[in-house]
């Protein structure tokens, strides 16, 4: 099981949504959470501080979630960082694009803490297996 103290960055332009994700993470025992309003701010935070997990929205101003993901994967220091895409986009090409860009997981809004937990565990399992 993952370390509950793991530092998680939640990226979303809608503060209500950041709060929802944060609350769900809290329900699962993750309390070491920081927030960013868009991809660009997230990237700054990721480069300045150490995070072990990123939960990001797709549609955001300035830098969207996909670009953030691609940039993370292209940055040597960050490339192994697990990234969970959280979005209301449930279209085939979106899902494929996320997978191709190297998303560790994809979760469609709205979701419950159980779904989130399941997704997180799958990602942790996969990481542990490597």
């Amino acid at each position: 099981m993952a370390d509950p103290k793991m530092r998680i960055l939640v990226v979303d332009d809608f503060s209500t949504m950041r709060r929802i994700v944060r609350n769900l993470l809290k329900e699962l025992g993750f309390t070491n959470v920081d927030e960013a309003e868009d991809g660009a701010i997230a990237l700054q935070k990721l480069q300045a501080e150490t995070f072990e997990f990123v939960v990001t929205d797709w549609n955001m101003p300035n830098m969207d979630g996909l670009t953030l993901l691609q940039t993370i994967r292209a940055t040597p220091a960050l490339q192994h960082l697990p990234v969970l895409m959280v979005t209301a986009e449930a279209k085939k090409e979106n899902i494929i694009a996320a997978a191709q860009a190297g998303a560790s997981g994809y979760i469609v809004k709205p979701f419950t803490s159980a779904t989130l937990s399941e997704k997180l565990n799958k990602i942790f399992e996969k990481m542990a297996a490597k």
């Binding site: 332009d13 549609n59 955001m60 279209k91 085939k92 899902i95 191709q100 190297g102 469609v108």
Partner: protein, 625 residues
Amino acid sequence: MSDFAGMEDLLQDFLQEANDLLSDVDNKLVDLEKSPDDRGLLNDIFRGFHTIKGGAGFLNATELVTVCHRTETLFDKLRNGELSLSPELMDMIMAATKTVRDMFGELSSGVQPSPAEADLLENLKAAAEGNLEALAPPPVAAQAAQAVLPADKPGDPNWEALHASVSGEAKSGEVIPAATVIHSAENESGGGQEPPKSAPKPVVAPKSGGGGRRVESATRENTIRVDTARLDQVLNLSGEIGLTKNRLTSLRADILGGKNDSETLHALDQAVSQLDLLVSDLQNSVMKTRMQPIGRLFQKYPRIARDLARQLGKDVELVLAGEETEVDKNMIEDLSDPLIHLIRNAVDHGVESPDERAANGKPAKSLVRLEARQEGDHIVLIVADDGHGMNAERIRAKAVEKGLITEEEANTLDDRQSFNLILLPGFSTKTEISDVSGRGVGMDVVKTNIQKLNGSIDIRSEPGKGSVFLISLPLTLAILPVLLVLLGDQPFALPLSLVREILPIERDKVQEVGGKSTLVVRGEILPVISLVRLLGWTQERYPEYGVLMQTAERSFILGVDSFAGRDDAVIKSLEDFRPRGVAGVTTLSNGQIVLILDMKELLSDAFQQLDIGRGGSRVPSLDVA
């Protein structure tokens, strides 16, 4: 009762944020009409609906999710250039936005939104499929791309399998082609694969107040967003006050212990002065936490003006200025209706049709300006149009015809006074009540609402050039500058905003006209009303001083014995026990309790008696300084 038990906080947050988003979308829609191909705008609007949809999902507001989803799909096509914007599409989008706003209204009263009109949903879908413009149905590939996974099955796509197949991680035995994975889910949504609808139903113009939908305004927002810097300041000041209190406590101990040397007294003096300063700073800071930029109110209006202009076949642009001006939050809410009315009025009655404008050599597009600014301790709001202006002669004739004033009274009014006649109850110059501003709400309601906020309204107009409505409001409702007057040694507080000047009453100058006392001040005949009589006390001596007061309806001189100065009163309301004519109470520095008089209430009784002598017609005093 509420459909959102346990989620109230979340709901409040969502509504506040989503309302801002939607207002932003509304404004961008107005911009979009001017530049329909602006990708940036299309993208922003798309994202707005998308974000609202995402939040609504967590609140289980499925109907809201549906409308947002369909609108978002349409914008996705627009931003990708697969569709282009037509006036019909625009109307449909506007209707969708309105539906979303109505649904917010329902949410804010704690109920799940009822479904959107079926026609609207059908049309949105048809439009997104490209059928609205009778285009050939898009190729099958494009339709498939539109397929959407059912929202009630979160994360339904077999992500692991998909991820594995794309990233090539899967063990040889379990490779699942991506297409298959998606397909299983696609069947349920059915979205893009239905046969194209033959012809979309006509877009229904949004009916005002139609349908059984409960619309916003019913409930007030009871949360407020405050800049943390302002809260910190409040915290800081209360800390400082705490320290000063400690200082005073220790000084009190010293003084009670018999220490009264000049040093101790000086320290006491200093501490009290400091407390004085700190408390007034604290009052200001607390007041500031209630202040909100009026832009939050303004941003709804361009859309309203645009819809109305379109309905009337006019070309009107609403220009906003001074959105950053800060106004008390309660006031913002109470200003909403009067401003909407004034804007509707400007668009409907103020500006001319394009033909008429062309005939008069004016540009086809009319400008209506909505402006806010702070002037000293007042907020000034302006609604100005560049239309045909008002005809004072016609207004006077109309007022006489409606029996609001007599012919003789009409003859004494100058143009500016005449314009103010339109604020009287029962006045409307348009013989046919238009569908738009004829909502049973007249300009008198605007005036009443403004007066409730201790404000005033003034009208200026120039034939051919346009009309200006000027609203003046106090900065806050919490602190009221008052004039303290005395009857014997009993003080009373009068709102300073109504006081024009103070003058001695010389008995030999007072003339009795028809049994009423009047005084001529610079050529103006004003009634003298004794405060003692207004309060129903027996008059023992003749008032020595007069306070020349001016309410929106009339000017008069209030007779009092003397004055005790002016003060910034912190109003305490008398909630359960409120005598007629008393607005509230305040405490003076010496601890004495003073009644703050509600002049309007007191006067309405007095003038009813006065007016009987004039054949019962109510005479408005129309001189506005």
